[in-house]
Subunit: 334 residues, 2 copies
DNA sequence: AGTCCGTGTGAAAACGATTACAAAACCTTG
DNA sequence: CAAGGTTTTGTAATCGTTTTCACACGGACT
């Protein structure tokens, strides 16, 4: 099943077989003999050997924090479809929130000679940044806007600002913000700042809005909202960093005997499927997760291809950044 | 950055460096020199070359129909966590419903020398079966019970049977079944048969129950339920093949002016997150998706390890099958 | 002193492909 | 028919590792 075996069977040199497979010049006669030998043996070239020799492998690495998440799997969907089109496979690394693990995957992927890496960003610290900079294969970050890296990310700031303005327009004034860890610049910091910016624009002091930080799931939203309602019984609106948190908050509000949206408005971010069937359905911002994956692949492939022919390290000024737009989806929770 | 370079710098042979890395015998003195050389150069062995030489690669292939699906991503979650523990990476192939693409991925993975393959099963036809049988790396199928292959799957039949019995116990007699493609033995055939078996056990002729076949999403459930309600206005229960379908059906029922569960009972399968916050929350069967992934990996790794030392092809009688239990979750929709 | 064993060592042969190179074979022409 | 060009060919080097093999070096033991 090796190329040599095929060559022997066809009575030619292994170079001829290689040329046959890769479109080199082979006489019609040998071409037929080789074809038959391949047919008989079911020979298929070993990709490991090919990679070792050519240095190229049609694989790209994808590092995610976790796979069981509506947003991540949507991005992955975009990625894998787009890669499949170009005949690439994806080497997946699921790192959790563990920075060290993330770097370990980066190592392994480089050592496997992947053509490029997509990093679904969460946090960034100096050690990691340093490691990312000295990464020798093209890299694209999704979901976060990391200065100096090619990124595809969502407009978290303006999405939440618009949502908050919407709530304010309905006359709600005593809002609370339920956020997630600030170490996540996009979902944590940018979204909170968006909410505060909207307050400021409406002439309200952002400092007066109570802010909590919780986990990404509904349970976190539930606990936070319950706590906030106990502290500030007169709240009439919750701005939540994610839809899941918002849905949890909705439960807490209902549990307290208040009604959504009559007494309290609630908004989330992400446009998750559960938000479409809750009662009331959730007003939220739709983010283009799938598109994010698609764009990340396009960007990566472009860098890969441009790097290939010109060995001259190309222009490092090429670090493009793509900010994806959002869409406010008004449903019943405001 | 190659092993030779390191060897030259340390003043030893490349064999010594290799032994140093892989725990062979190296004198204390050289050990120090090599360590320093590695430190200086930041050398890390090339995995492609290692694979070529040793034949082993710590990667396993995973082929899924699509990644953006609550069940699939949950299984993947179990898989990737379990693999990470054992220091394996996953090579992902997203095949859609395209059988040919599935086989193409199988090819590529074999040619990449993956240690094993997990196939998230959907359909099975003779061509594919033949190809799977002659697959030269260990293979495990999840989600389906394919005779003759090692499988980890859910007890779809009894789950739906139990759900249907539950609905019948509440006095509902005029049920309809909304299913998915019968080409999917597990989610299509087995679940429908479970529903019919429950009817039979209750002394009702299964043939009297209208059955439709639709897509896996809520839209499909919505259309089907609307159609069924038009045809049979006296229906008082829907057994749905998946939660998403059930939630779609719930919308259709509500749209028709009927109430759930007062007028019509609805059940689904899968225990998806949206079902917990719908109004009313959905009665369903919880399937152990995550566990499915974990067990699949355990099974695969076991086969890989047993195959490794004994070159003697081992016992092919080892095709274990694991049937995962289900749990009925009674919420408000019955 | 000779034998035996265990540990360290480097040269060289794999692993399975691609490709540079030079030789051979085949055409066109003048 | 000779000269010059184009297409086919096989040999051998290469990619970066691991591993076999033979050998050298010390003891420990007869």
């Amino acid at each position: 099943m090796t190329i040599k075996e095929v060559a022997r069977l066809a009575g030619v040199s292994s170079a001829a077989v290689s040329r046959y497979m890769n479109g080199g010049s082979v006489s019609e006669e040998k071409r037929a003999r080789i074809a038959r030998a391949i047919e008989e043996t079911g020979y298929r070239p070993d990709m490991t050997a090919q990679t070792l020799r050519t240095g190229r492998v049609r694989q790209i690495g994808v590092i995610v924090p976790k796979i069981f998440s509506e947003s991540v799997s949507q991005i992955m969907d975009g990625i894998s479809e787009c890669l499949a089109e170009k005949n690439y496979m994806t080497l997946l690394g699921c790192a959790g929130i563990d920075d060290a693990q993330e770097i370990r995957y980066l190592d392994i992927m480089e050592r496997n000679r992947v053509a490029g890496i997509i990093l679904m960003g969460t946090t960034m610290d100096p050690v990691k940044e340093k490691r990312l900079r000295e990464c020798r294969v093209p890299l694209v970050v999704t979901g976060q806007n990391f200065e100096g890296f090619p990124c595809v990310y969502h407009d978290d700031f303006h999405a939440v600002k618009a949502l908050t303005s919407l709530v304010l327009e309905k006359g709600r004034r005593r809002l609370a913000y339920i956020g997630v860890t600030e170490r996540d610049f996009a979902a944590g910091k940018a979204r909170r700042e968006g909410a505060q910016a909207a307050l400021l624009a409406a002439g309200i002091d952002p400092e007066t809005m109570p802010c909590t930080e919780t986990s990404f799931d509904a349970e976190g939203g539930f606990q936070s909202a319950r706590f906030l309602l106990a502290q500030h019984p007169d709240l009439d609106g919750f701005i939540c960093a994610t839809d899941n948190v918002a849905l949890g908050a909705m439960m807490a509000v209902r549990e307290s005997g208040r009604s959504v949206p009559a007494d309290v408005s609630i908004v989330g971010v992400g446009d998750c499927w559960a938000g479409t069937i809750s009662a009331p359905p959730l007003t939220t911002a739709h983010l283009r997760y799938r598109q994010c994956g698609v764009d990340a692949v396009r960007m990566l492939l472009q860098r890969i291809e441009q790097e290939d022919p010109e060995q001259g390290e190309a222009q490092p000024s090429q670090i493009r950044q793509i900010r994806l737009p959002y869409t406010i989806i008004e449903r019943g929770s405001v």
